[in-house]
Structure formats: structure tokens, C-alpha cells
């Protein structure tokens, strides 16, 4: 009917306006994030090789294992994952609030500050100024710059939220708003109580793990879940399975996740109640995890064929499956009897990568496959590179997580048996560590293919030769979102 067509035309015009307003600020965050991804991948490979070949690059203090490892972590967490997460958050916020991006210059300024602060901090770590507090290694002289940058993004987000032209708040917005408000509280508490004015003794350990677990649970997880909730219905063109499960999933995550952190100290020198509270909260995580799993996976049922055509869907669905897997593994890890075995082993490292790589990174890759053609007006130039990206990352992930999880259990069992000499325990981990390096090479291949494809795309955007947009790869633009 003519009326509907006019509405549809207006809707598309509005989306196009929002997308083009996002172009420069979102691309700036994306490109910075991917540059850190390449550097972080390189640092990861060096770290991995060192763990089975300790003589590798051992002659310089700035390349010793204990510095390259935190450099890797901070490059991928604060460089890649956070910046890509912010980029996706900004775009989703504009789309869901139905407002074009305001003050793009402010966002770009924030991105510049973020990258400057992080560069200073990372050089600091390699030079020996690491705080040695896990997930907070960046020296105290670099983090205020990051915090300032973050404050700009947060204020921008809240203003955009206030300006929204859509009264209904979609589930993705709940999660995004949560992430935006939770992160500064976590980061400020940790910076003040651990680095600026350190508290005494093991209070540090409590705050350290309250922070570190919540960076995953209340920063990366909500952004990742917001993206999954947005892109699965978008691409397959049907609403989310159940609105009520979305509500239950969100509020149970908000209630329980932030109490989980101290299960990282099981067996440690802490009063038992602190550990027990966190173990209980970790088991309660079954509620949001199963709720969200039902909601995501049941939405997909009957539409798996679309995985073949949409890279967005392929990455996002793998991410959603990994979220379920890593969360269930996390519940197991938090039990005292299981933690007794795996706590100090490489099992934990595998678990962390299933969460941050399998879940968060894969979802972010999927999101970028959708967002970038829309904000740049160009399709992805190479299907082949997309395939290399997906299979490199996916096979790398499987080869990383499955063997190392298993190897970690063997390591823990051997370590708990005092009749096994320690050097035997070390020898037992070597095959898994070597396999991990191979898996890392596959991931690196995927990353290079992705960045290559993006550079190619950008060359078309900014180069003299411009082709019209053909939206075949990224799925259809359907208004199928729950509650609309």
C-alpha cells in the first residue's frame, strides 16, 4: 500500500542518515581496534612460543615472558576488544535510539586519547612499570588518560539515550546502558583502591578479582549480548524467541554476575565466606545463561541455512554458542572440587579465550561485517578473505580451547599428586602448549585476512573508483525486532 511504502521509504532514509553520521567516528574506533588486534596477536604468538621454547627472544628484558604476556592481554583487552566494543556500542545506540550520531568530533577525540593513553601504558609495561595486578597492569600514569577518554564516550552515550526518538527500549539497549554505567564504576574503584591509594594486604586480591571478573561480566558480556540480541533477529528476519526471557536474563545477570569474582581465590588466603558467596553467585549464573541460551538458540532454530550466506550470522551464532559453553565451563570452574584441580593450570587460560575470543571477539567480527558496509557504503570486496577469516579463527579457536582445557585438567591432576615430580608436570604440558602456538597461527591468519579485506574496502571508499552498494553479503534490512 502506498502509505506503508512511504513509511518504509522514510525508515530507510532515516537508517541511511544514521549510518552515514556514524561513518568517521565508528571507523576510527574500528581501525584503531584492529591495529591493536594485529599487535596483540603478534604479542600472543611470542608469548605462546616462549612457553614451550623459553630461550626464544630471551636476551632483552622488555621481551621477557613476564612483560610480553601482560602486554598481550592489555593490547587485546583495552586496545582491540574495548575499542571495537565501543564502536559497536556507538552504532547500536544510534540505531536503537533512532538518532543520528551527535558530536562526532568528540568521539574521535575520545578515540585519540584512548589510543595515546594505551600506547603510553603498553610501553610502560614493556619498560618494567607494570603493576603486576592482573587485568590492571597499565601503569598509573597512563590510566587517567584512558578514563578521561572513556568518560567522553559514556557522557555521549547517555546524551544520545536521552535524545532517543523511540520510546520502546529494546533488550540490546538495556545491556548497552548497563555496560556504559558499570565499567567506570569498576575501573575507578580498582584504580583508586589498588593503584593510587593501595589498600592493605589481601583486600587487594578481593578488589582485583571483583574488578577482573566484572570487566568480563559487566563490560564485555553485555556489549556482546546486546550485539547478539540485535543481529540474530536482524539477519534472519524474525523476532527474538521470548521477550519475558530477555527480561529475566538481563536482570538475573545484573544481580548475580557482579558477585562472582572471588571464586578466583578458591583455596587462597581469604575468609571462607567471601569465596562461598562468589561460588553461590557463580552457580546462580545458570539462570541468566540458560535463559539467554534458550532465547538465542531458539530464535535460530529453522534458520541455520542462512549461516551459509551471512558472515554476520556465522560469526555471531558461533559467538552465542561459545557464550553458552564458556559460561557453563565457568560455573564448573567455580566449584571448589573442580577448582582444586584446574585453578592454577592452563585450563583457566583456555577458559578465558573461550569467553573473550570465542564469544566476544567472534560476535564483534560478526557485527563489523554488518556495520562497516552500511556506514561506508561499500560491500566487502572478497568472499574468499571472509572464508579465510572465519575458518582461521574458528579452527584456531577449537584447536586452542579444547586441547588446552583437557591438557589443563591433566596438569592439575598431576600437580595435586605430590609423588609426581614437578618437572614431569611441566613436561606434560608441552604438547598442548605447542598445539596452542599452531592454533594461534591459524587465528593470526584469520585476522590478517580480515584486516586485508577491510583495507581493500576502505581503498574503494576513499579511492577514485567507487562502485554502488550491493547488499548481498550482510543480510537483509528487516524491521523484525521483538516488541515492535
Amino acid at each position: 500500500m502506498p502509505g506503508e511504502l512511504a513509511d518504509e521509504g522514510q525508515r530507510r532514509a532515516m537508517l541511511a542518515e544514521i549510518d552515514s553520521s556514524c561513518r568517521a567516528p565508528v571507523l576510527f574506533f574500528v581501525i584503531s581496534g584492529l591495529a591493536w588486534l594485529l599487535l596483540g596477536t603478534l604479542l600472543a604468538l611470542v608469548t605462546s612460543i616462549k612457553l614451550h621454547s623459553p630461550g626464544f627472544l630471551a636476551g632483552w628484558d622488555f621481551l621477557t615472558f613476564g612483560r610480553v604476556r601482560p602486554a598481550h592481554l592489555n593490547a587485546v583487552i583495552y586496545g582491540f576488544a574495548s575499542q571495537t566494543g565501543i564502536a559497536v556500542t556507538i552504532w547500536l545506540m544510534c540505531r536503537l535510539c533512532r538518532v543520528p550520531l551527535i558530536s562526532g568530533g568528540l568521539i574521535i577525540l575520545a578515540a585519540i586519547f584512548w589510543n595515546v593513553g594505551l600506547t603510553i601504558g603498553l610501553i610502560g609495561i614493556l619498560a618494567g612499570d607494570s603493576t603486576a595486578i592482573e587485568w590492571l597492569e597499565l601503569p598509573g600514569y597512563s590510566t587517567p588518560i584512558l578514563f578521561f577518554s572513556y568518560a567522553l564516550v559514556a557522557v555521549w552515550s547517555i546524551i544520545t539515550f536521552r535524545l532517543r526518538r523511540e520510546s520502546h527500549l529494546y533488550v540490546s539497549q538495556w545491556y548497552l546502558l548497563g555496560a556504559i554505567l558499570w565499567f567506570p564504576w569498576l575501573y575507578a574503584t580498582a584504580q583508586i583502591m589498588l593503584i593510587l591509594e593501595p589498600v592493605r594486604g589481601t583486600v587487594q586480591a578481593a578488589i582485583n578479582w571483583w574488578f577482573a571478573h566484572n570487566v568480563l561480566g559487566l563490560w564485555f558480556t553485555p556489549i556482546g549480548l546486546a550485539a547478539i540480541y540485535y543481529f540474530i533477529p536482524k539477519v534472519i528476519g524474525r523476532p527474538i524467541h521470548s521477550y519475558y526471557l530477555s527480561v529475566l536474563g538481563f536482570w538475573s545477570l545484573a544481580l548475580f554476575y557482579n558477585w562472582n569474582g572471588l571464586h578466583h581465590l578458591i583455596g587462597g588466603p581469604m575468609p571462607a565466606w567471601m569465596i562461598t558467596v562468589s561460588v553461590v553467585a557463580s552457580v546462580m549464573m545458570l539462570i541468566p545463561v540458560i535463559t539467554v541460551a534458550i532465547n538465542h538458540h531458539f530464535t535460530m532454530v529453522g534458520h541455520f541455512g542462512k549461516l551459509r550466506y551471512s558472515p554476520t550470522l556465522r560469526f555471531v551464532v558461533v559467538g552465542a554458542l561459545c557464550y553458552t559453553a564458556t559460561s557453563l565451563q565457568g560455573v564448573a570452574n567455580s566449584l571448589r572440587s573442580y577448582s582444586e584441580i584446574v585453578h592454577f593450570t592452563h585450563h583457566t587460560i583456555a577458559h578465558a579465550h573461550l569467553g573473550l575470543y570465542g564469544f566476544f571477539t567472534m560476535v564483534m567480527f560478526g557485527s563489523l561485517y554488518y556495520i562497516i558496509p552500511r556506514i561506508s557504503g561499500r560491500e566487502w570486496p572478497s568472499l574468499g578473505l571472509i572464508s579465510i577469516h572465519f575458518w582461521g579463527c574458528f579452527l584456531g579457536l577449537v584447536l586452542y580451547v579444547v586441547p588446552l582445557s583437557y591438557g589443563g585438567i591433566l596438569q592439575g591432576l598431576a600437580m595435586n599428586d605430590a609423588t609426581v615430580p614437578f618437572m614431569k608436570v611441566v613436561e606434560g604440558t608441552l604438547p598442548w602448549l605447542k598445539l596452542r602456538t599452531f592454533a594461534g597461527l591459524l587465528m593470526a591468519l584469520g585476522h590478517v585476512a580480515f584486516v586485508g579485506n577491510l583495507v581493500w574496502l576502505l581503498a574503494r571508499v576513499f579511492g577514485p573508483y567507487r562502485k554502488p552498494v550491493v547488499a548481498i553479503l550482510s543480510g537483509t534490512e528487516t524491521p523484525a525486532i521483538a516488541g515492535k
Binding site: 607494570s130 578488589i207 588466603p269
Partner: protein
Amino acid sequence: MKYGPLLFLGILLTLASSWVGLVLAPYKQLGGLLPNPATNAVGVVSYFPEARKGEAQQGAEHYRSLGCVYCHSQQVRPAGFGGDIDRGWGRRRSVSRDYVHDRPVMLGTSRTGPDLTNIGERQSDYGWHYTHLYNPQITSKGSVMPPYPFLFEKRRIGPGGVSTNALKLVGEFAPGDGWEVVPTPAARQLVEYLRSLKSSYDLPEAPLPKAAGDAVTATAVQ
């Protein structure tokens, strides 16, 4: 959901709950812990754990800076939980009071290498520590710990002969005729720190096993 303010409030209150429970409450309970006074056989009162001084304290900075914490924990789990005490990593479990002097507290989350809570008691030999840091393959063949050649100086043997603190290196690890390897101040401080890592004192909340026959007896202070 339509109500933005309700969402805001819920988001803030949920995190506030764990901030009170897992930040403020531990701070109230553990933030004021003090070392424990103990009287020895001749009536001298000492406080445990003892504060680190001088080179040992400087060594803690190298331990932090070089990221030793990524492979070595400093926490002994209770008897019957894991193999920590059976492996000889400590005679008693670690408790919060053991860490009141540490900045930062480096409990560690990985045991790619062994726990170091009590390394000072388990291995006090300077020569062993220097050689091990210079190249772990010499003392612990098959180790995946990196060598730290940059903590040592390779230099020509001076007119006075081989330095007293030169490492005793033989075979494939020897520096060559006319050369010697000596620890830098950083290596010396790091080894002093490692030697200071001891949990051989009694605490009321974590007494040493009686069989150990330690001369120091704890005075319970509440």
C-alpha cells in the same frame, strides 16, 4: 521495557550490592590487619610477618616488573586441598595476615612454575639462585622458565683474578676463557627478595604443625 530511570536505578543498585559485599566488607574485615607479636625463648618480642627491608624490598620491585607472578603463585592452600603442603611448598596454609606488608599482593593465578611462598626456606643458597636465574637449564633441566641473561654482566676477568661473586659455570654454559659472569645489583636484589619469602612463623589463625618444633611461639591477640 519503557522506563529509562527504572533501568538506570536497577543497573546502579545491582553493582552497588557487590561493591558493598566484595569491596567494602573485605576492606572492613581485612584492611586493618596487623602483624602478630610473638615472644621467643629469651623473651624478645618480634612481629610476624616481618617487613622487608633494603635489597629484599628492592627485589620485590624486580619481581613485579619482570612479571614473575604470571607463572609463580605465592599462596599455600590448606592441607587436604590440592598437593601444596605435600609438595613441601609450605608447612602451613597461607592466611590474609601473611600479606599485610605486600604492595602489590602477588598471590598469582598460575603454577607454570612452583609456588614460591616459602622458597627462602626451601632454597637459601645464593649460588643456586644466581645460576638458576642466569639459565634455568643449568639447575633445572627441562624447565620452561626463561633465562635472564640481562640480570648478569659478562665481563673480562680483571687483573685481580676471578671475582668472588662470579657464577660457577661449566661445560656448555661456561662464558669462555678469560671471561666471567657476575650478577648485577638487580639480580642481587631479586635473590634477596626470593630468600626473604618465608612462611616459617606461627600465626594464631594458622599455626605451624607441632612436629616442626619451632622455637617461636605465637601469642594470640584478638
